[in-house]
């Protein structure tokens, strides 16, 4: 199985389409969406329709905090994020909102745990931003592999000696060997709102035949997405972030 991992799409249609095309070219046979289809971007409806189509054909999709916010409270979100959620609620159909609401918080299958944030308490949306957090999340997941998002950066944590995890900032395009006896937790990076100063969309591919994990970056027309954000009246900062990748 060649599994493509997409996290934090954030209603960015151009970025999602670019990553899906890239993954297909790399012979991905299965897709997993790691939460936050909604929030920030101008195309929540189109993104949800694409993902719903894939889920209908067997893809995995878990809920993120922005997806939950569409249905419920927004107290955890900053002003521009809250403004985007309010705007998106208005443009989404009932069916699209129901799709978001119906996504599970966690999916476990075949030794893999899919979750948006930390698996310790998925509904608390804790950031996995240190080796210690990664160890806790991987332990709570209880699977050899945990794939998540939420942090908007690509990162890999691998267990070394005595279950202690080693943090590694991956180099895009370099396949990393994945040994069966090592526990690993990967942050796939953000498809729709990368924040590491590189404006290219981020996703990852886990190849279970070659036993490798490869992080990818895909340049897409982020200026077109930024123009859409400005045209739709969403906060200017959201357009600016996409142009800079910050």
């Amino acid at each position: 199985m060649v599994l493509a991992l997409f996290a934090d799409v954030h209603a960015n249609l151009e970025a999602l389409e670019a990553c899906l095309a890239d993954a297909r070219e790399r012979r991905a046979s299965r897709f997993a969406f790691l939460g936050d289809l909604a929030g920030y971007g101008p195309d929540p409806g189109a993104v949800i329709d694409i993902v719903a189509g894939h889920v209908g054909r067997g893809a995995v999709a878990v809920k993120g905090n922005h997806d939950a916010a569409i249905a419920g409270a927004t107290e955890y979100l900053n002003d521009s994020a809250a403004a985007a959620i309010a705007w998106q609620r208005g443009v989404l159909s009932r069916a699209q909102r129901a799709f978001l609401d119906d996504m599970p918080l966690v999916v476990r299958e075949e030794g893999i745990c899919f979750v948006h944030a930390s698996a310790v308490a998925p509904e608390r949306w804790d950031y996995v931003d240190s080796a210690a957090e990664a160890e806790r999340s991987a332990r709570a997941a209880g699977t050899p592999r945990t794939f998540c998002g939420h942090v908007h950066r690509q990162m890999l944590y691998i267990s070394g000696a005595a279950e202690r995890m080693v943090a590694f900032a991956p180099t895009p395009g370099v396949p990393i060997p994945m040994r069966a006896h090592r526990t690993a937790l990967a942050l796939a990076g953000s498809v729709g709102q990368p924040r590491d100063g590189n404006s290219a969309a981020a996703y990852a591919i886990a190849d279970f035949e070659a036993r490798t994990l490869t992080f990818h970056r895909v340049a897409y027309d982020n200026h077109a997405t930024a123009r859409k954000i400005r045209r739709s009246g969403l906060p200017e900062v959201l357009a600016y972030r996409l142009e800079r990748g910050i």
């Binding site: 070394g160 000696a161 202690r164 080693v166 590694f168 180099t171 370099v174 060997p177 040994r179 006896h181």
Partner: protein, 469 residues
């Protein structure tokens, strides 16, 4: 016994880390070894496994004449093994027991530095360089063995947290490794400095400490200058060795290629106070160093520098035609290229026609004359003496002389002049520049004098169709 198509033969070595077997099979035309980690003993196994995995991960990504060829790895959970080329030749420790002549130290040292340069260029830092991990092949090239403690820039470092274990071999490891750093390629240059010291004097500069306190000595201890142990050590060799053994990585050579270069061109080594040292620092000065070492949390360095951040640039200067109108442009471009990097080395080369049958004295006269012209050419660039060297090559074929010199000295970029675009097309194909560009082992920057005022180019087809109107 046959494992995955390999016939396992004689056990060659039983070590603390694992076993080495001779293997055959799978139709490989070279001799092979199988490494099997020694697992199962509670205290050793976790670390042994990490080291085994590290080598199994890194070796397949290394290529070239300076590493054993990778053949296969077994499934780590069921049959952990690593099959690799069995390199012919003796490891350095068995061959070189006593002290060597300076020329031999330099030859072996330069070969190891070449190997390090090749490995560093492939994003790997060895981190356990010592004589038993070096084999010198019959063709004098050095091969590095044992990447079990190595670091790859683009792969997770499983040993990053295993400080105590991953520190390498006590006599050879760098001060920053004692502190837990695993990401500085200059650590390997320190270890090479220890090897050079050992080859030159028959002694180890820091002994073979058995305790952490003993290891920490090298954070401040000033090794006895090689000349104390071997009075025949020439100043240039002492300069190279003590520069390699500097506590701060920033004070060492910044690239293995630079170190190899100095070992190959002793006459070009710029001597500093290091070369003349005949005793250690005073007790008071050593105490001050010790006090400073206590305070430093982590040593400077440890930066994840891109390979090639300390390039060797070679500029070909035509000293036979010093008034060539391209010279100022060549100087401008060279200055611009050097401004892009702090840690460059510049090699200025002039090729003069070899003249057969010339009396010996005249030959030297030619050398001196062209060397003076080279120095005059380089002067306006205001480069520190220890970053630049000058070479006059006598050869019939300038382009192959340049290419060969670049290859031997790990040059990253050749800068040279070319015929102007307004000269006839044939001029380019006949030029040294075209031949060097075609055959160089590295990038080539071709410099042209800008055309005075380019006449608008007329497409021949267009001209023809216009004529037909």
């Amino acid at each position: 016994m046959v494992i995955d198509g390999f016939t396992v033969g004689e056990c060659l070595h039983k070590g603390a880390m694992g076993w080495l077997y001779e293997v055959t099979g799978r139709g490989n035309p070279f001799r092979m070894l199988m490494k099997v980690p020694r697992l199962g003993e509670a205290t050793l196994s976790a670390e042994t496994l990490l080291a085994f995995e590290t080598e199994a991960m890194i070796l397949p990504r290394l290529a070239g004449a300076h590493v054993p060829r990778y053949v296969a790895t077994g499934d780590i959970t069921t049959a952990p093994y690593l099959v690799l080329e069995r390199v012919d030749g003796a490891s350095l420790d068995r061959r070189e027991a006593a002290r060597l002549a300076p020329a031999d130290v330099a030859r072996i040292g330069a070969a190891i530095a070449d190997a390090l340069h090749s490995v560093h260029g492939q994003n790997v830092i060895h981190l356990d360089l010592k004589p038993d991990n070096v084999i010198v092949r019959a063709d004098a090239a050095a091969v590095l063995l044992d990447f079990a403690l190595s670091h790859h820039r683009h792969l997770p470092d499983l040993l990053a947290q295993e400080r105590r274990y991953a520190a390498g071999s006590a006599p050879y490891i760098s001060p920053e490794q004692v502190r837990g750093s695993r990401t500085d390629a200059r650590s390997d240059l320190f270890s090479l400095g220890v090897i050079l010291y050992e080859l030159a004097t028959g002694k180890l500069p820091f002994g073979a400490p058995l305790t952490l306190a003993g290891l920490r000595d090298r954070l401040w201890l000033d090794p006895a200058p090689p000349r104390i142990a071997n009075g025949d050590t020439p100043p240039w060799l002492q300069e190279v060795i003590l520069r390699s053994l500097e506590v701060s990585p920033a004070a060492r050579y910044q690239s293995a290629a630079h170190l190899a270069f100095d070992l190959r061109h002793p006459e070009q080594v710029v001597l500093t106070a290091r070369a003349a040292k005949v005793q250690r620092k005073s007790l008071a000065a050593q105490a001050a160093s010790w006090w400073r070492a206590r305070d430093i949390g982590t040593l400077p360095g440890g930066a994840k520098e891109e390979p090639g951040s300390a390039p060797v640039v070679m500029v070909a200067v035509d000293t036979t035609h010093p008034d060539d109108p391209r010279q100022p442009e060549l100087q401008r471009v060279t200055r611009r290229i050097l401004s892009l990097s702090r840690e460059f080395r510049l090699i200025c080369v002039s090729v003069v026609a070899a003249r057969i049958g010339m009396p010996r004295g005249d030959e030297e006269g030619t050398q001196v004359e062209h060397r003076i012209r080279l120095r005059h050419w380089i002067e306006p660039l205001e480069i520190e003496a220890d970053r630049v060297s000058m070479h006059v090559l006598e050869a019939a074929d300038a382009s192959s002389a340049l290419v060969e010199f670049a290859r031997r000295n790990n040059v990253d970029l050749i800068v040279l002049g070319a015929p102007a675009p307004d000269e006839r097309a044939l001029a380019w194909w006949r030029s040294v520049a075209s031949s060097v560009t075609a055959n160089a082992p590295c990038s080539v920057h071709v410099v042209r004098r800008p055309a005075a005022s380019a006449a608008p180019a007329i497409d021949e087809d267009q001209a023809a169709s216009r004529a037909a109107d």
